[in-house]
Amino acid sequence: MRTFATCGAVVALAAGSLLAAPAMAGKAFVSNEKGNTITVLDTETWEVLEEFPGGNRPRGITVSPDGKLLYVCASDDNIVRVFDTETYEEVFTLPSGPDPELFVLHPSGNPLYIANEDDNLVTVTDTETRTILAEVPVGVEPEGMGISADAKFVVNTSETTNMAHFISTEDYEIKHNVLVDQRPRYAQYTADGSRLFVTSEIGGTVTAMDIAEDGSPEVIGKISFEVAGVEPEWLQPVGAKVTSDGKRLFVALGPANRVAVIDAQSLEVLDYILVGQRVWQLSFTPDEKYLLTTNGNSNDITIIDVASEKAIKSVQVGQQPWGVAVIE
């Protein structure tokens, strides 16, 4: 009962603060898959501020639109844990279905769309009532989750079926299925919603799709990678982020220890930025000045200066960093 009251207050506070963003240094939150912790960093000094328990096997991580709440997929707890980004206290949990790995939050902050790898489902969870709204059957081993700019479609990638499933957020029906290369990991729309990128870890490619007004996809090309001195097998695209002007796509290449810089219009690979080992997920700072990478095998994050497209710093975090989310 007490927990419930506290949570209600937090939600009310969250809604109120949408109007006035607090002026303070930004923070980055890194989920450490093996260490079962969340590392908090100051995005000006890049110093570690805190490391707090994140549940068992924390992976997918995101923040509410107002930056007040931190959502974490605690995969081995079969639950989404929600933390206060100021106090780092767990404020409530959300039912997620088994083994949640990745999720995407509706731009309004509600609902949360969660991939359940073990059950071939996408679970839709109401973040206010904390109940499951829908379970959508998808392909085998759902993983990547992206949401269109108009929030009309959620795209889920299934790692063994090798498809991008376009789920309508109105009726939770799959409207389109697009076959992509082996083991699709991540789906990223451009900010204007006109293009979608899907990374294929084992296929070693990124599939680019143009998205029509009605949300229907058309494959326009595939991006592949080549780095001198790196075995092609290790060029494994995982996390991806595109700048809000839709010009640059950054793709984490896993065990190749590099982030690819791609012209998001022409799909040409422009450069590779050397980062830490087994680079997994990416996140921009809200001003898009920096791109953060989680490097699972070197237990650090790399900070990339977006304008110069250079790595400027690496910072040690917890054990096996997986994902990262940033607030202002």
Partner: protein, 395 residues
């Protein structure tokens, strides 16, 4: 009927027809030949009734989920038989119209059944047989190998030994032909990677029960004496094709050394605690469906049927020649929870794949090891490379 309505009607029919043309009902079979053998040394190695078949059950589920988005259905029949009745069992499968068959059998039966399948144009997947000759002189055009060969397994172990700089080997092999075939693979691997077999001994199979009450007392006395006075060595390599002695070597060998090969650190395609590269999800699905841990052969059967599923999904064909052509083409690639795609060698139909080195509880390492390079694929550092294979059926 007005002209407009007529047009609509035709369009609707065409639409239906085109959908029908895409729909494929995929039927396959798993045929397992069971042999009379003595019981395994370890109870953990007992063959379950659903040995291999459990992989087919998971493959049907996985393929069907994908198929549900494309109008494809999958159904796999599983049959256990004896060497004497194997031909009749396959005959029944083939006469029911099934042209995609996964077989678990020893060399003699596998070859006979593969040739029998060829008569109806059927494609066979080998899910258990490691005999290197099947990838060499005895290869068949309609036989694709999911199971790694003895040569691949030995190379996987050898690379790990070399990475550890354990290059002086004490080879202990079974005196029967099954043991010698594996021993030969290790002798070849030693030459290939620059290891030296400083001691080469055989262990004779004198028959008798593999298990007896408090049998460990005798084992503890016998194995040290059997392995003493060997030249200085870094590691013991066990080559046991019939599970009669290798399991007794670890801890009992005279000189305190690690054992690899048929006991100790063993090359496998999958085991129940492999978790890297998303395999946890595979384990969870397998266990939920079958109520037990996965064995390599279950995984091999699953993988064979996933090859079929991939051909159906990508190339829209379940015809044996269509599946074979797609599997052997440059377009084919498959994710198999091994950290990189698996593909087929076009010269002998062998699946290229990383090999797990398993100590009985965890994945200790995965070969190929770092630093072993190849101009085509590092996976081709394991097993018969193109110039080494005498297989001509794929030319």
């Amino acid at each position: 009927m007005s002209a407009r309505l007529m047009t609509l009607f035709v369009a609707a029919t065409l639409c239906l027809l085109s959908f029908k043309a895409m729909a494929i009902d995929v039927k396959s079979a798993v045929l397992r030949v069971d042999y009379q053998t003595l019981l395994s040394i370890s109870r953990y190695d007992r063959q379950q009734d659903d040995f291999g078949f459990a992989g087919a059950a998971l493959a049907d589920e996985d393929n069907s989920t994908t198929g549900s988005f494309l109008g494809h259905t999958y159904e796999t029949t599983t049959v256990a038989t004896t060497p004497e009745e194997a031909e009749a069992a396959l005959g029944e499968i083939l006469s029911s119209g099934i042209k995609l068959v996964v077989i678990l059998a020893r060399t003699e039966e596998l070859l006979r059944l593969t040739d029998q399948a060829a008569e109806t144009g059927a494609l066979v997947f080998n899910a258990s047989n490691a005999d290197t000759t099947l990838r060499n002189d005895q290869c068949r055009a309609n036989l694709l190998h999911i199971a790694p060969s003895n040569a691949m397994n030995a190379d996987a172990v050898a690379q790990f030994a070399m990475w550890k700089r354990w290059d002086d080997w004490f080879l202990v092999s079974g005196g029967n032909p099954e043991g010698q075939v594996i021993a030969d693979a290790y002798r070849r691997a030693a030459t290939k990677f620059g290891a030296k077999i400083v001691e080469d001994r055989t262990f004779e199979d004198t028959g008798g029960s593999r298990r007896s009450d408090s049998g460990h007392v005798l084992v503890q006395k016998q194995i040290p004496t059997d392995t003493q006075n060997a030249d200085d060595h870094d590691v013991v390599i066990a080559a046991d094709g019939t599970d009669f002695f290798a399991r007794y070597l670890p801890y009992h060998v005279w000189t305190p050394r690690a054992v690899m090969g048929s006991a100790g650190l063993r090359p496998v395609t999958m085991h129940g605690s492999h978790e890297a590269w998303g395999a946890t999800q595979y384990q969870t699905r397998f266990e939920a469906l079958n109520g037990r841990f996965v064995k390599s052969e279950d995984y091999n059967v699953w993988l064979a049927l996933r090859v079929v599923g991939e051909a159906v999904t990508r190339a829209n064909t379940a015809a044996p020649e269509g599946v074979r052509d797609y599997a052997l083409s440059d377009a084919f690639e498959l994710a198999a929870f091994k950290g990189q795609k698996v593909t087929f060698r076009t010269w002998n139909g062998q699946l290229r794949q990383p090999i797990l080195l398993y100590d009985g509880s965890i994945t200790v390492s995965v070969s190929p090891q770092e630093g072993f390079l190849h101009q085509r694929s590092v996976l081709d550092t394991l097993g018969l490379d193109q110039p080494e294979s005498n297989c001509t059926a794929f030319n």
